[in-house]
Symmetry: C2
Subunit: 119 residues, 2 copies
Amino acid sequence: MKKINFKNKFKKFSDQWSPKVIAELNDYQFKLVKIQNDFIWHQHNDTDEVFIVIKGKMFIEFETELIELNEGEMIVVPKGVRHRPYSEEEASIMLVEPRGVLNTGDKVDELTAPNDQWI
Amino acid sequence: MKKINFKNKFKKFSDQWSPKVIAELNDYQFKLVKIQNDFIWHQHNDTDEVFIVIKGKMFIEFETELIELNEGEMIVVPKGVRHRPYSEEEASIMLVEPRGVLNTGDKVDELTAPNDQWI
């Protein structure tokens, strides 16, 4: 039985916008990602997506509002809802979503990251 | 679109071992629970279960080992694995598991809590 320490896992990588898998819960994955600057507008047509801020501050822009998320806060982005995450300074984020979800959703972009990068 | 602040949610209840739902991700639930002292041995036969320590320290006893979890740490308890959570001082924990999972798993006990208590 292996416990997972978020800080130690975040030390294992430095690339941004490239989610790393740290755990699986049935067919769901917990992923850590470092983010900074702008991501692209996209949506996930088949699933909701959870963002949890572990360190720092991030924003998620929706078509009708802008949400600021700080350490110790989370949000569920409902499936099919267009959103654009961004961060001014680097932030450390945990994502929870089903295995196989692409970070750029319905878009393919230079920011599209490979899935199943375990750390 | 509503963000969730863990600290604010934990202020909304004081009972222990009685998980409160704060969010749903598809058919999965994120639950907050305050724990202290001993829970019962149990297992979940149909699902894995995630524990994330938001504040404090907890232990999970398994048949062959004891895991200590501190703030910023998580563990996945695989389905079918007997375990017994406990905590010396009150700890604030987030659980992630499918909707409908009973806190005492395969046991019914005075610690069995009702499901779907949203806060």
